[in-house]
Symmetry: C2
Subunit: 470 residues, 2 copies
């Protein structure tokens, strides 16, 4: 897998830089069917780490994993009007199976509300069955006309949570719990991305939802990326699929539902939120490889010391890799680990080692420090936490520097040329939203001045964050 030596600089051409990183850090490649994606081992290792962290938080929020079929009878999709209108243009349709034309075509799931409600309507009988909280890790297909690896692909991997509750308030509270406790916490604490949770406007809602909550992140080119969404579905699907429970007083009631998901798109967000001209910069809590021990030259006991150190670090719980491939030049290997964004390089060469020392290099800052070999195992965890904290602080500073408070739509469009504009929602409204869209700018979310989510779209005082978006 031959590599060209450098990336296009971010300042020269950010989209090209992104493409270069994805290719040269060996994260993904295009699939043969338009818009599909091959996720390469290093890219997949990043996704596996995301899965593990999100899965643990979902389970802590009480949801249980399960699996629903890939293929959904076409008629199911048509049952909820807004839902089919939203998804019909993106569907992949199976018309033949087992050598025969199917009596009813099946769609490859674009999302699973319809098939899951078919089962919820059987499983939910009594208020004692509520809340019903399930999640699945799955692939979905939405035909994509302008594909971009990780960000917009015809097939992507995700988790989709689906829940039933007895009341509107409980469903609303659970959708918010997922937004804050699962998604925002994961993104801030693990991905070191200071996402802005908020509420989508009616026009940006999930098809079939009564409210969509979102985590919006700023990329290093000032554009926005929607990192995950949590929807209140109200009783829309419950009414169509007959998902009802008998209450404690014997009344038959429709359940209130939520659904919520994050996807491989987060890998794209991670790349663009932290990456620099040398490649990825992975936050240590997420990184599949937190530290690489590099043998500079195969002299003076360096290979043996490096192997022993790698073993000790692994024993101390660090995700570590040993690079003793001295047939490849040291410079080339160092550049490659930089490209891959490994938070810390421990370089072990014969000269330093003669003094009992090694060199620690931080990927985020490039800072090098010479340290005694004997203290690396005990010092590394704290160094990794420093990097984690500094990446979040850096991203937060960069984000805040690019958020401009504005008063008019024209100023909002101008602000969106290099970052986010923040404008009272009362100065925008549905008509202003349409005018912004004509300029390629969208309302990313509505937030209250204190950072909370407005209770309603028309809650007084709410602010719109507007931006160009991926």
């Amino acid at each position: 897998m031959a590599k060209a030596p450098v990336l296009t600089p971010q300042a020269a051409d950010f989209p090209r830089w992104y493409q270069d990183v994805v290719a040269k850090a060996e994260l993904a490649d295009n699939g043969p069917v338009r818009g599909t994606m091959v996720i390469l081992p290093y890219g997949y290792a990043i996704w596996e780490r995301m899965q593990a962290e999100v899965d643990a938080r979902i389970k802590a929020a009480g949801a249980r994993n399960c699996y629903f079929p890939l293929l959904i009878p076409e008629s199911y999709l048509r049952k909820e009007a807004a839902h089919v209108e939203g998804f019909a243009p993106e569907l992949a349709v199976v018309t033949h199976g087992g050598g025969k034309e199917l009596e009813e075509p099946a769609v490859v799931r674009p999302t699973s509300e319809t098939i899951i409600n078919t089962y919820f309507s059987k499983w939910v009988q009594s208020y004692r069955d509520l809340p019903l909280l399930v999640n699945q890790w799955a692939n979905v297909v939405r035909w994509e006309l302008r594909p971009r690896l990780f960000l917009r692909t015809t097939e992507f991997l995700w988790q989709e949570g689906h829940t039933c509750h007895a009341t509107y308030d409980e469903a609303k509270a659970y959708a918010e719990r997922i937004l804050w406790e699962v998604y925002a916490r994961f993104m801030v604490d693990v991905l070191a991305i200071p996402v802005l949770p908020g509420r989508k406007t009616a026009r940006e809602r999930f098809p079939g939802a009564i409210n969509t909550l979102t985590c919006e992140a700023m990329m290093r080119d000032g554009k926005a990326l929607q990192m995950g969404t949590s929807h209140e579905l109200g009783q829309n699907f419950a009414r169509v699929f007959g998902t009802q429970y008998s209450s404690a007083t014997g009344q038959l009631e429709y359940v209130w539902q939520t659904s919520w998901g994050v996807s491989t798109r987060m890998v794209g967000g991670l790349i663009m939120a932290h990456g620099d001209d040398a490649g990825l910069r992975l936050p240590p809590r997420l990184a599949p490889v937190q530290a690489v021990v590099l043998v500079v030259k195969a002299d003076g006991g360096a290979p043996e010391a490096a192997a022993a150190l790698a073993r000790d670090l692994a024993g101390a719980g660090v995700r570590v890799e040993l690079d003793d491939d001295v047939e490849v030049s040291f410079g080339r290997r160092a550049v490659d680990w930089e490209l891959k964004g490994v938070p810390v390089r421990v370089e072990i060469g014969p000269r330093d080692l003669a003094n009992g020392e090694v060199t620690l290099v931080r990927r985020d800052t490039g800072e090098k420090r010479t340290r005694p070999l004997g203290v690396v195992v005990s010092e590394l965890p704290a160094l990794l936490e420093d990097i984690q904290r500094d990446l979040l602080a850096g991203a937060t500073q960069a984000r805040d520097a690019r958020i401009t408070d504005v008063a008019t739509l024209d100023e909002a469009v101008e602000a969106a040329a290099s970052g986010f504009g923040r404008i009272p929602w009362s100065s925008v409204g549905t008509e202003g939203e349409n005018r912004l869209r004509e300029q390629g700018v969208t309302v990313r979310c509505l937030r209250m001045p204190d950072g909370t989510v407005p209770a309603e779209e028309d809650t007084v005082g709410s602010l719109a964050l507007v931006a160009r978006a991926y």
Copy 2:
């Protein structure tokens, strides 16, 4: 989710018993598209445990996870003659995407050799790139005319490993390593199923392989289940897709390949290898819940003692659940945990507790013992290991009692009525194999008398295991 009180006894109707267990232990349900399956939370938890154990072993064998697209251009499937012949009748075909008819239809992957070789042919250039070892966890679709939950479903979940090697010998050795170190070890050590590894006959090979290795298990009705396969693909796909490397001497050579997989079918095998008339019996190393702490009655401090014990067991690394739902009768709950196959029940009632005691019940034997509350945490791990060992020993004994050495085809068919027949392969041959098939009996695998795998189909002295199979 209302349940009828009992299962059909195994002796009365084994297939019906299987259906009952799958439904009443809440493992899976039928999907709306024929042959598809909904995996319910408890069934999925079993699958997640299998995934975790198999994934760790695959990584230890050096393969890295990645992900290839679900949709494969139809023309790719046609490139390898035996492959397309084997899979064409089972394909699901996407003809429309994004509201338009596709220029080339795409098939939903039935397996991924063809799409993966398209990338291998780009990735492999030099002998230094070998061996190339990848794996993916994915869903696949093979149209199924006689579906049965977990055992034969139109969509199933699996892992598929794909590797490239420089030589025939290396590929062969790796296919065998996966068979023995990953699959057989997992099945024996974790599932407690004493599988018989062997070699498939030419007629039972994977379409496109030059050799298929298999782990065959005996179910409690004497029938066989293929639990996993590991294939030597030779250079068949490499030639068709141009997967070549330049050797150390500069020669251009085709790679030698393997592929191998295990699927959600293993859940079916687990049910039928250990289950009894009261339901599942899960081996502790696999069980998502290893012990349940049951409050018999909400009196005399039982709920508090149970909660504290469950916490302590969790702290000691036991996968434990607390059942303090005293609104449901104790008997009903005990039956339910039996149905779900949880290896140990710890029953805490006020009467025992007054003496500082609790009751431990083994699911595998039904044996009850009264023990001091204070020793449960320290004694439970050994009890779980006893159960693990005894389940394997019991399954091995049952298996061996039902293997009959025979000399003729007629005797082989008779042996297959209640178990496996073992017959010299030289007494069967391809013609005998056809005659057995007419009686619904297949050659499950060929093995040497010492339990090793014959080097070739016609290796002198090899024995055929014949059986009826799922």
